[in-house]
């Protein structure tokens, strides 16, 4: 199952890195949003540190929708999704592979946007590297798991691009809150609370298990 998932992830990453369709869109969107937020708030004030974590994760969650919405939509031309389902790869592997590819892409976008954010808003993001790394790793995985699931659920809809954000944002709120708190702690230097790590870990475990368990149902008609 893992080997097949890695194959699917490699295929997705190769095709994405060749076309760069969602990568470019997500990267430029993050920069544009960082720019737009600088007009909404004064980026040079001291208070910036208080809400900078929340702002960063809002930007990331917008980028996440762009990335995960392509995960299954990419397979639509030439009926590739049908071929993928017909192949002897279990549905959970397809799902895991797609989530893994989206995870790496989104993480890449996030890590690229992070220095831009630190420069534009004049914040030091590395006060607690562990908290920041946990937020980036665990919350990104949480976003990607929910996003990939509902990317698959909405892939055949005409209103796909409209429905996806409506469905995934409310569900990802617990992970986003924890990520915002941990990132905020890493920016302000306040000690991060262990409850946020537990929240993120629990969120990831529960929804990964649900998604893998339901992958068969979601991907077969």
């Amino acid at each position: 199952m893992i080997a097949a998932a890695l194959q699917v992830a490699r295929k997705d990453l190769t095709s994405e890195l060749r076309t760069k369709e969602s990568l470019n869109a997500a990267l430029s969107l993050t920069v544009v949003l960082l720019l737009l937020f600088s007009f909404a708030f004064d980026p040079t004030s001291e208070e910036t540190r208080q809400w900078a974590g929340g702002l960063l994760w809002l930007v990331y969650s917008f980028a996440a929708v762009l990335i995960v919405s392509r995960a299954f939509a990419r397979e639509l031309p030439n009926d590739c999704l049908e071929a993928l389902r017909a192949s002897p790869v279990p549905a959970s592997s397809i799902f895991l592979g797609k989530a893994l590819a989206s995870f790496l892409l989104l993480l890449g976008v996030e890590l690229t946007a992070l220095p831009a954010f630190a420069v534009f808003y004049n914040v030091n993001v590395g006060a607690h590297p562990l908290a920041l790394a946990a937020a980036l790793g665990l919350a990104t995985w949480g976003l990607v798991v929910i996003g990939t699931t509902f990317g698959a659920v909405t892939v055949n809809l005409q209103l796909r691009e409209l429905m996806l954000p409506v469905l995934i944002y409310p569900l990802t709120i617990p992970a986003l809150i924890a990520a915002i708190e941990l990132t905020g702690a890493s920016i302000t230097g306040a000690p991060p609370l262990s409850i946020w790590y537990r929240l993120l870990a629990g969120f990831d475990i529960i929804f990964t298990a649900l998604a893998l368990g339901l992958a068969d149902v979601i991907l077969t008609d």
Binding site: T154, Q158, L167, L210
Partner: protein, 230 residues
């Protein structure tokens, strides 16, 4: 027969609610600390419990649909979600009215309030998703998946809230506190109103379920007619 039963329960629920309103407004005294405004609680908590029951049922029916693939479970899941949402709205709105009087603000980003709002949004998304999928099997399958995720999400949000300090008043029911925090007469009234709201919800669910089944029959007849015409 079933129609008559639904009608009778509906009339019963309406009379029961009128009787409850009479007792709430004219017989029960004001609460010692809060005065008259505490009366919204008779709709606040029962509304929440009714909505929570509906959402729990939606999760159960969705699992049943996915395991049996019988459409009646899908119709039931749709019906209970649709009926649950107005009760969730009742919970939120009465809570806001109470908050305006007691806290002085309509809304605070307290974890419990936030969780209630998030679950209302998730289930509104469920109804939107249903509307966006024309094909019945696809619609049933995908909305069942969403309902299961939604229920896990709501539990998650709710439990995670218990870890945080909250501005929301703590539990008052004897079943949660072991007694002593609420006047028995008032608690009894809560049970009465919960029963009335559950009856009302039951009637609405039965009607919506009926409609949903009819709609499916019409859809399949239409497809059949279309197949013959070609």
């Amino acid at each position: 027969m079933l129609q008559k039963l639904i009608l009778a329960t509906g009339i019963g629920a309406a009379l029961y609610l009128v009787r409850n309103l009479y007792v709430i407004f004219l017989q029960l005294p004001d609460e010692a600390a809060q005065g008259a405004i505490y009366r919204v609680f008779y709709f606040h908590l029962p509304g929440y419990l009714t909505a929570a029951t509906c959402f729990l049922l939606a999760g159960i029916f969705s699992v049943l649909y996915l395991t049996t693939k019988r459409f009646k479970w899908d119709s039931l899941a749709a019906a209970v979600t649709e009926v649950g949402l107005p009760f969730a709205a009742m919970n939120l709105i009465t809570g806001m009215i109470w908050g305006r009087i007691i806290w002085g603000i309509w809304w605070t980003w307290d974890p419990r309030l936030t969780a209630a709002l998030i679950s209302a949004l998730v289930y509104a998304g469920y109804l939107m998703l249903r509307n966006a999928i024309p094909e019945p099997t696809e619609r049933a399958k995908n909305s069942a998946v969403l309902a299961i995720f939604a229920f896990a999400g709501v539990i998650f949000t709710y439990k995670s809230n218990e870890w945080f300090r909250t501005q929301h008043p703590g539990p008052v029911l004897t079943i949660r506190t072991g007694g002593g925090t609420i006047d028995p007469q008032m608690e009894w009234m809560l049970a009465h109103n919960l029963l009335a709201l559950l009856m009302l919800a039951g009637v609405l669910i039965a009607i919506r379920w009926n409609q949903e089944e009819r709609r499916r029959q019409i859809e399949s007849l239409r497809r059949e007619a279309l197949a013959y015409s070609i």
